[in-house]
Amino acid sequence: MEFTNNTLDVTSLPRFEEVKFNKIHSDYWKVILIVEAIIFLVVGIALGLVYYFQQEFRGYASYFGLSYVVLILIAVWFSRLSFSKKGFAFREHDVLYRDGVIATHTMVIPYNRVQHVALHEGAISRIFGLAKIEIFTAGGHQSDIEIPGIEKEQAENIKQLLMGKIRKEL
């Protein structure tokens, strides 16, 4: 075997920051909205009950109602931002995941550090045929990647791809 040990040109290495990220499936936005609707519905019913049974609360009802609506708007706005910021990419040797509203957070896991891969289907995601891919390393749960909102079939393929990569690396 011919052995070479040329000086590495650091600037010519592939750059992770220039990778084009894939967007999360647009149906996942519906999933987020439905989950939020359920949460706000439950809270809303609770507030309604308070309104019905507590006489002295009624004077403040308009304030509560208004702030509730504002809260919903903020929550939806933030989820929208968060949704549009989420992105993933599978390179030849590693997987990248980007998210975060206030801080943009990019996580990179090389395939030869992946311990195992799992597929998770939430109840509501399943209705839209979406799944979440979970990629685990030995670095504890902080260093795991969870990519939500991927079409079931594609997710299955990605999982197979990753499993293949892991096996090859071993």
């Binding site: 600037t11 992770f16 957070h105 390393t137 030995a138 504890g140 260093s143």
Partner: protein, 496 residues
């Protein structure tokens, strides 16, 4: 050489340990009842009470014996598993794959030391608790079993009956580093001031509260308040502070000496074998290839006295376990540090290119821990009360400000081809060393208002914990991330 291939029991004398363990276990559960009994004592009840205790002890002996009888362990050579079966009514069988064993600790509690047996713990990756525990085993057998468990199974199978194995065992007894009593003493008086202060304050707070409650029910309170008041207050205060400082030092020294007395490090087939402890002797093993983060820390006094502390984190499974599984080597000097580091890394870690944090890190931490709390205090506390405590404000600002300033000045990331070293801390300056091939994952993040300043965060994940660097030059950080990714992806280096 001992043979572990067939099920075997613990040392006979282990019945005593099992008995003591049973008594301890039940005693804890029955403790409230015993107190109730003791409070309501009268002649008649004493007899009943003593009889109960006697019966309890007899049952404990029987249970201890049964536990001893039913406890067996062996190594399944075929499947390469370490098996422990135990339990009287509820039988349980613990199977640990030899390849997954991370650490085998041999230790002694006071009772075990009196009887002359040892405990052996088996620690694996992927669980939070100690999985296998043998409570009573002779020293020779413990060492042999440990040796056997830590051999990476299969390939050395024939070694079990090989006389060579016992030779290496003897070699392990010769330590290459002995940390002297004097070094431990020096370490004791120079470390952990804040932690000990916290412990003492917590202790006195509880005592004070209890005394106060007691006083309230009697009539002493008024007298005491008068007595302490006025002219004596200052003197008493000074004496108290002096005593507190002394107490911190004494407690520190005692704690360090009890915990680490007779600290020695031996080399064994490329691994480090540590043993230490005055009352309970503990021993533990460090495998260089499993070491993830090595921390060298030293403060100003320690620098003058030429001592430092090493903390080593190995690969672990559970998140909780990470905090506890750091192995500390207290009070070694620069020469000893170098020889340990050389064993772990094959060369002494060098500091490479230096990365500094942006000044915003200092500004933000000043805002967070000086401006914000003092501002809130100023707003929230009524002005007539506030005037008495106004002196706290400059004091806090100066102390905290100094800490933040030195913390900021020491906050550095050094990147070398083979080592990444993060330096941090205001008083105790810590250098966390990791090797790039131990990286599991990398993440960078940037707050949107930091985009124009081109600064951001870097987090390096390893199997022994994370290392993060805040507000460094983002372009440089990204460049190194690309380089590390390239290195990780082009080699199949062994991270564990």
């Amino acid at each position: 050489m001992a043979d572990f291939s067939s099920p075997q029991r613990q040392s006979k004398i282990g019945i005593l340990i099992m008995f003591a363990h049973t008594v301890q276990e039940w005693g804890r559960a029955l403790f409230p009842m015993l107190i109730v009994l003791a409070v309501n004592l009268n002649n008649k009840k004493i007899i009943v009470g003593l009889m109960t205790i006697a019966i309890f002890l007899v049952i404990a002996i029987v249970v201890g014996w049964l536990r001893y009888r039913n406890f067996t362990f062996w190594i399944d050579e075929e499947n390469e598993e370490f098996v422990i079966t135990e339990g009287i009514l509820n039988k349980s069988k613990t199977v640990i794959q030899l390849g997954k064993i991370q650490q085998v600790n041999i230790g002694q509690s006071l009772l075990q030391r009196i009887i002359g047996v040892y405990a052996l713990d088996v620690d694996t990756a992927g669980s939070n608790k100690k999985e296998g525990k043998i409570r009573a085993i002779s020293h020779g057998l413990a060492l042999a079993l440990k040796e056997r468990l830590l051999e990476n199974s299969g390939k050395i199978k024939s070694d079990v009956s090989n006389p060579e194995a016992s030779e290496t065992l003897d070699a392990s007894e010769k330590p290459f580093i002995n940390i002297s009593f004097f070094s431990l003493f020096k370490y004791g008086i120079t470390s952990n001031y804040l932690r000990t202060l916290g412990v003492i304050l917590a202790f006195f707070a509880t005592v004070y509260e209890n005394v106060h409650r007691f006083m309230e029910s009697s009539k002493y309170e008024a007298n005491i308040d008068n007595y302490v008041g006025e002219s004596l207050a200052l003197k008493t205060g000074m004496i108290l502070v002096g005593m507190l400082l002394l107490a911190i030092l004494v407690i520190n020294v005692l704690r360090v000496i009890i915990r680490y007395y007779g600290f020695r490090i031996a080399r064994q087939k490329g691994s480090l074998l540590l043993s230490f402890g005055l009352i309970n002797t503990k021993s533990t093993i460090i495998k260089p290839e499993k070491v993830q983060i090595t921390t060298v820390s030293q403060n100003y006094f320690q620098k003058k006295l030429d001592i430092l502390e090493l903390r080593i984190r190995q690969a672990t499974g559970g998140e909780e376990e990470k905090k506890r599984s750091a192995i500390e080597i207290p009070g070694c000097d620069a020469r000893e540090r170098d020889s340990i580091l050389k064993l772990l890394f094959k060369s002494i870690p060098e500091k490479g290119v230096m990365l500094q944090p942006n000044y915003r890190k200092l500004v933000f931490s000043i805002f967070l821990s000086i401006v914000l709390p003092l501002g809130i205090a100023y707003m929230a506390i009524p002005s007539d009360v506030l005037s008495d405590f106004l002196w706290v404000f400059p004091l806090w600002t100066i102390l905290r400000g100094l800490m933040l300033y030195f913390g900021f000045r020491n906050y550095r990331l050094f990147i070398h081809d083979k080592f990444i070293i993060k330096q941090s801390g205001a008083w105790d300056i810590a250098n966390q060393i990791i090797e790039p091939e131990k990286i599991q994952a990398l993440s960078v993040s940037q707050l949107f208002w930091h985009k124009s300043a081109d600064i951001g965060y870097l987090t390096i994940y390893t199997a022994g914990g994370n290392l993060s660097f805040q507000l460094g030059d983002y372009t440089v950080i990204k460049g190194y991330v690309n380089k590390w990714l390239y290195e990780m992806e082009t080699s199949d280096s062994n991270w564990m």
